[in-house]
Every structure is written in structure tokens, then in C-alpha cells.
Amino acid sequence: MENIITLENVSKHLGRREILKNVNLDVKQGDILGYLGPNGAGKTTTIRIILGLMRADSGRVSVLGQDVQIDSVRQKIGFVLETDGLFDNLTADDNLLYYASLYDVPLAAEKIAKAIQLVGLSDRAKDKVGTYSKGMRQRLALARSMVPGPAVLVLDEPTAGVDPTGQIEIRQIMLDMIRKEGKTILLSSHNLDEVQRICNRVALIHRGQIRLSGELEKLQHEMSRGGLTIETAEPVPPAVVEELKHLPGLFVREQKERVLQLSAGPQDVPGIIAWLVSQGIGIEQVKKLEASLEEIYTTILKEAETGNE
């Protein structure tokens, strides 16, 4: 698939502080890439560089194959920044019309009405934005990002401050943009649940370095580290669990009622099942355990912290 956003060995200093260290990142056509990291990790700086608001000290940054410092490239990039950039004294309609005119959007009025409807603000479109709640402003900022019909959207915490129902709606809008309109999205977020629900790829940045990136599903398999869930017909007797702990090549993570969570190499799984059956344990289901994004996130950050010490 074609790379829509590419960062190659990008470094950035602000004063003496190194904000980004040889960052490599690519977002391919049709991706929703979840860009994760703790506060101050370098997410916003990366986004600013992608939007051409900052220059990388070294490395290469391109969007749709072009240098982001070229003004016309931004014609194809929709954005939601940390601050919404909306004008309090203008109505929602006028705010979007103003931005649309900066992008030379044809049939702007129609597109604006559609975008405002999509984010559920039609009944407040004629109200001044100064009267909007934080969540409504975020929705409007998202609507603004859609109006120029960009090929790629760079969204910095678009659901921050939005109520749970609104978050679900915004997630659905993002998914529709990918599925129905073939857009590409880079989504910076602290909401791991949100990222896990909608992103197909993730990248994790910590102290200016990308610590992990790839397809979420693959990462979940890899990071499960041989995790296995076995559901048994009856609760496993403690004595059997104790014996199980002494078997070579496996680690008992947890045992609750009829659920046994283990870590084992794939070659060992048939032997473990056979051993349990020989102990009179009925097996109902064996599932490969997938690490949650939260587990991946905390594990990688812990490793990074340990490595840095």
C-alpha cells in the first residue's frame, strides 16, 4: 500500500532538549494509525512537523509524497489540533465557511451542511461558537477537518472533552471516513480503548523515540507472549494447578474457577492439553490469549523506562 505520511529518521530539538530522536513512522493508505505516548513524549511535535508547523532538524517528512513545507500540500490534509482554532464570535456555519474559503472548497455550503449534520450539530449551526461546550467545539473542529475533502486527516485527541455518546459517534464518523471514503487517519490519543476499537495500526512514542509500531492485531499476538486461555469443564483442583506449575516450558499466569491462563510455547500446547486430560480435567475451549493495548502500552513503557535507567 502507498505511504501517505512518511517520517524518516526525523529528529527535532527545542533549545537543548531533544524532542524527537530518529523517528521513523509511516501511515499507509486507508490506515487509522493510533499514535500513543505519555504526555511530553513528542506526539504533538510530530503532528506539528507533519502539518508543516515546525521543521525537522534532520530527516525527511513527506505527506502524499510531497514536502510538508510546500503550502499546497496542506490542501489535502484535514486537521484537529490541541486547540480547536474556532472563532467564538462566528456561528458554526460561518466558522466552517471561513476555513472552506481558505481551501477554495467548491460547493462549500452543501459540504458544510453535510459535515455539520454528520457531527450532530445541525440544530446549533446558526449559534455562535462561543456558546458551545468543549465537546461541541471538538465535533465542529472535526467537521471543519472534513469540509475540504482531504485525503488524510491528522487528529490530535479529537474526542477529548466529548461525552461518551459523542465519543462513540465520533469514532463511527472516523470509521466511516476510512471505510466509505477511503481516507487515511493519524489519530493521536490518550484513550487506549478508543485506539483499540478503531485503529488498525499503532505507534508508541516515549521520550522522543518510537518504541513500538505495527499492526495492532499482530502486536497483540506477539505481545501475548504465548498466552493461552483454557476453559475447563470443572474448576481445576489446586493440586493439579500446583503440579502444572512444575511442568517444563510453561508459566501459570492465573487460575480462576474454570479459566486457566498460561504462557507456553506453541509446541508445548498439545502436551499441556494431553496432560490435563490425563488428570481427568475436561477441556471445553482453548484460546490464544491476545494482549490488550493497555497491557502492550504499559509493558513497552516499563521496558523503555528500565532501559533508560
Binding site: 515546525m54 521543521r55 482554532g85 471561513y98 474559503s101 481558505l102
Partner: protein, 248 residues
Amino acid sequence: MNKIWILARKDIREAFRSRSTYIYIAVLFLLTFSYLSTYTALVNRLLEQNAGQDAIHQASQIFLNSLAYTLPLMYSILICSIFAAYSVIVDKAKHNLDSLMATPVSLKKIWIAKSLAVTLPSVLIALAVSIVGYIAINIMRVVPLAGGFIVPDPAAIISAFILVPVLILAVVLIVVYLQLILPNPRIANLAFTGIFLLLFFGATALTSMGLNVDFSLIYLGLIAVFLVIAYFLSPSLTRERVLLSSKG
């Protein structure tokens, strides 16, 4: 040019929504009346010296020429500070500039648009107030004391309608540049107040002395200096500088 006008028009509209803009306009009218007493004092001095009607007419012409040269410039500068507050300071404080810079519009165009949003309404208001003030001084003082309505010299008219707007734009370009890159843009706004005070006291001194000063040359020289400064400053205006100078 179209994008520049779109940006500038929005800022101008926002400024006219504010009451303080109208208060400033009222203040300008009040300031104009201070020239009535200046003119009266000038004529009284001439009368004490037993000057004839021709001498009074000549002195009045010089006085009114000086007004035509200086009033539009002073008033433009004074009112620039209010328009600059809406065009740059508010946008910067609310980080709206960040979003504007992420659009396809170049930073140079944003700079020029913001400068025009400050210059155009300021100059138009200043010219309107100056014309009204000029007519009022003529009707209330000049006609009774000098014996007739005095129109400024063509050079003074050209200066008011051409040189002053260009000079204001040149000054505003530099002030807006500073506002864009300074963490506290209000500091740059003080430049307007400083220039206004300098012009106000300088012009009052010159007009009360009845000196015939060639303002056109001074303005041309200043325009050249300010435009050269703006030209050399422009490469150092980057999105990153503007972004990082915004607090918060």
C-alpha cells in the same frame, strides 16, 4: 490576493463588533477639537502682532496643511492598536493562529492579511474623522477669523490619501511581525501608542509654531525605511517561531 482579503475581512468584521472600536472613534473626534484652541491661539498671537488679513490667511493655510499632513497619520496610528488587538493578539492568545497556519495559506499571506486588517479600517476611520474635523475647524474658526474656507494644498491631500496609508501599512507590517513572534504581543502594540504620542506632541509643536514643514519628503523617507526593514524581516518569520511564541 483573494485569500488575503478573506483573512483580512474576517478580522475587520470582528473588530467592528466591539464597542471599544466606537469609543476610540469618539475619542478621535474629541481630540480634533483640541486643534480649535491651538488655531485660535495662533491667530490671536498674529492679531496681537497687528498682522494683516493676508498674514492670517497664510498662517491659517500652513496650519491647515499641517493638520492635513498629520491628523490622518496620528489617528490611524492610534486606532491601529485596537484593530491589531483583534487581528493578532486575540487570535494568538486563543491559538487560532495555529489552525490558520495549518491551512494551505502561506504565512506571508497571513502576515500581509493581518497587517491589512489593521491598516485599512484604521486609515479609513482616520481619514473620515480628519475630513470631518477639518471641515469643523474651518466652519467654527477659520471662516470667521481668516475670512474664508481654506482647502489644503494638493501635496497635503496627496499625502493624506496616498502616503499616509502606505506609511501606516509599512509601520503595521513591522508591528504585526513583532506581534507574531513575541510571546507577549501586547508589548509590540505599545509601539502604536509610542508613535502616536511622538506624532501628537511633535505635530502640535510644529503647527503651533506655524512652521512650513515638508511632510511628504519625511513620509517618503520613512516609508522607504520601514518597507526595507519589513523586507529584511520577512525571511525570519516562520510558522515555528510564531507557534512557539504562543503561550500555553
